[in-house]
Subunit: 209 residues, 2 copies
Amino acid sequence: MKFYDCQTAPSPRRVRMFIAEKGLDIPSVEVNLREREHLQAPFLAVNPFATVPVLALDDGTILRSTAGCRAYLESAFPSPPLLGGDAVGKGVVADLVWRIEADAIAPVAECLRNTARGMKDRALTGVENYEQLPQLAERGRRRAERFFPVLERLLGERPFLAGERISAADIDAFVFVEFARWVKIEVPGECTGVRRWHEAMSARPSAGR
Amino acid sequence: MKFYDCQTAPSPRRVRMFIAEKGLDIPSVEVNLREREHLQAPFLAVNPFATVPVLALDDGTILRSTAGCRAYLESAFPSPPLLGGDAVGKGVVADLVWRIEADAIAPVAECLRNTARGMKDRALTGVENYEQLPQLAERGRRRAERFFPVLERLLGERPFLAGERISAADIDAFVFVEFARWVKIEVPGECTGVRRWHEAMSARPSAGR
């Protein structure tokens, strides 16, 4: 098995932390996105969609999304469960993961990719170029900021988003908080639950990976 | 258990077909999106995110996304598996489902929601209003059109996207093809594999649901 990673990007981090929380040690290959290595022939042969994370399995199967990599890992290495324990738990975690991707991580990506000078014509991942849309960046910022009170409500008094145990939802929300800093968005002071949870997440060994 | 559905919307259809392919009979409630029932207090009490599908479980848990509803149903009613059989299969289906949502269904939604007159200021789902961005509609159209050759390649010579058996990926790709018609995008003639597969999908009882 081989994990195609990039230390500077949020999506591979969602899988990297997942691997760390599973206690797995998977050989990894660093793909230098800043040098546009993902748009060059050797990597495109692995993933024509030109994105990381990628997980190349021993049977030749290649998984080319965060969701795909984690669904495989959860089933192949079930302990500890990170996508939910029983049926209800699996539903709850999938719900949270979807929400965080759609309403938190994607908006930050919209804000960043539609403004960063180094991402001119790279408003979306992939091999096709798409021009930056300033209005989309602004909308992304508004949406990302609005997610903090939602996260506060989702968290409530629980130690983790899905309850007593860490799940992929916590990993993703943590990656969102860290990613939001790239566009100068910080956890608002009034989100005391999020701040408490973020501090606990930051202290986990997986957060440094 | 109760399923909050809407016969005229693509996302609940992804769950409705999933339920039908599982052979389940779950009591459903029709939420009239055109009458903006999802933005009124009774439904917001069920789902503050103001979207369908929603699955209300007997233990009181409420799942508020396609992903959440299906993860629960797959675990509670494992046969036939629609999110993959073994670990590799689960990875492959999750990969496809993610890809189809991100690169096919979302672009059609962008195209529709940023142009339809009845969706003024409703460029995104949810309780917040967001203005329509014509450039995003145009980008969504380009992306949706570009997905057909990708779908053709993903399908290859297989009867279904993940191989010999139907999966959630086929449901989602089918919903994409049907949804694309709303913005006058049809399967290109040269995508003969997609046309063959779409014909077979259309003939399944679940397609009429």
